[in-house]
Amino acid sequence: MGSVFRPAANFWASLTLLMLALAAVAFSLVVWLWPHSDYARRVNSAPAQPVPFSHQHHVSGLGIDCRYCHASVEVSSNAGMPPTYACMTCHSQIWTDAALLAPVRDSLKDDRPLVWRRIADVPDYVYFDHSIHIAKGVGCSSCHGDVASMALTYKAMSLTMQFCLDCHRNPGPRLRPKDKIYNTRWTRDATTPAPELLLAEYGVPQRNLTDCSICHR
């Protein structure tokens, strides 16, 4: 009577076991890493909006200041969004019957707000405040990317905890002079004052900005 298993069976058995082990490791890695991937965090994707609003046209093209539309960014935790009325100050004069703008006109006519899909978002258990960042020399593009060149607004940064901490550990090199806050194409160059000078100028304290209670209150 021959044996039930041929010698090669040993090899296949160990290979199968190895594969299973590898699959288990790969699976855990995917489960572990997936939520932090750019894809899961919708980085670089522009959600469909009720109106295909273009920052490129309005900011770079027409030269409208961020604060005309995001009026509370310097004083409040919330940047603020333009009321329909602000769009209509221009669009009752230009592009008055463009089909694209029908939702804006209807909004004013029916007194129903426009509903934009959020792009930058942190969970409710994270405390975030725009005003302190603007006051301390952090520009819009550090967290939102080059918005002024976006034909459709997309998320440029992951806004994970890691992202916030990367700057909070050492904010100096990312601070910019006051007049560059709203320039979303700004990068550090030879004319930029040294990080230490900016830290001193803005009076960023030497306290620990990575304490959990800074962001989780």
Partner: protein, 223 residues
């Protein structure tokens, strides 16, 4: 007018939601047994408060990016800055006497009642009842329009119902009809009630305060 939804759920209410319990059961096997054991409900809830809070209130938030909406105003109301709280002055009536208050609100939602320092009856202070007024703002049973048998009715329906009532009052002279109010110091209301009493002599006006000033008055008299 839209029906106002209840603004919050207590842990007790949550604990009666079958779907929620199913999720908790998956997370904490054995909870059902503990809940059905002959122990009083309050004690179980006390024991389970942390687990309920964890399972119900989240930690689901840690995966992926959150999603939401931005809803700007159609016309920006003056003086409202998104993300900032603001104040308005109000009055709190207790036992018929009004005291000035200042209500802190967050984009229209009241979050704190404090006394109005410029009002002589308050001078910046409030009673505990005025503080608790905040809960009233969010009471699901707070009146939100004309209703009858809990269903919304139009103003015309209200006027019709009042007209019918008036005809009935005229027939009976107000017998069997009573108006129930809290304590009031309003001369206007007093004059209106007096006019009603003149027109329908049998009408009765009853007033009652759950926490009245009778004892204060008695105390002062016996000093």
């Amino acid at each position: 007018m839209p029906q106002v939804k209840a603004q919050w759920r207590s842990l007790e209410e949550l604990a009666q939601d079958s779907q929620f319990l199913l999720r908790v059961e998956q997370e904490f096997p054995g909870l059902a047994a503990a809940l059905s054991a002959p122990r009083d409900r309050r004690e179980t809830l006390t024991l389970m408060a942390a687990a309920l809070a964890l399972a119900g209130a989240g930690l689901e938030g840690c995966d992926g990016a959150p999603e939401g909406h931005l809803i700007p105003a159609v016309r920006q109301p003056p003086g409202i800055v998104p993300g900032m709280s603001d104040y308005y002055s109000n009055a709190h009536v207790e036992g018929g006497y009004a005291a000035g208050t200042v209500v802190k609100h967050f984009m229209g939602r009241p979050i704190k009642v404090e006394g109005n320092p410029f009002h002589p009856a308050s001078l910046g202070a409030t009673s505990p009842i005025a503080q608790a007024e905040l809960l009233n703002f969010y009471d699901p049973r707070r009146s939100w329009g004309v209703t009858r048998a809990k269903l919304p009715r139009s103003r015309a329906a209200l006027e019709q119902a009042l007209a019918e009532q008036r005809a009935q009052l005229a027939a009976t002279g107000g017998a069997g009809f009573a108006i129930l109010t809290g304590a009031s110091t309003s001369p206007t209301l007093a004059a209106q009630l007096e006019a009603l009493r003149k027109a329908y002599s049998q009408i009765r006006w009853l007033h009652w305060e759950p926490i009245g000033r009778e004892n204060v008055k008695k105390g002062l008299e016996s000093v």
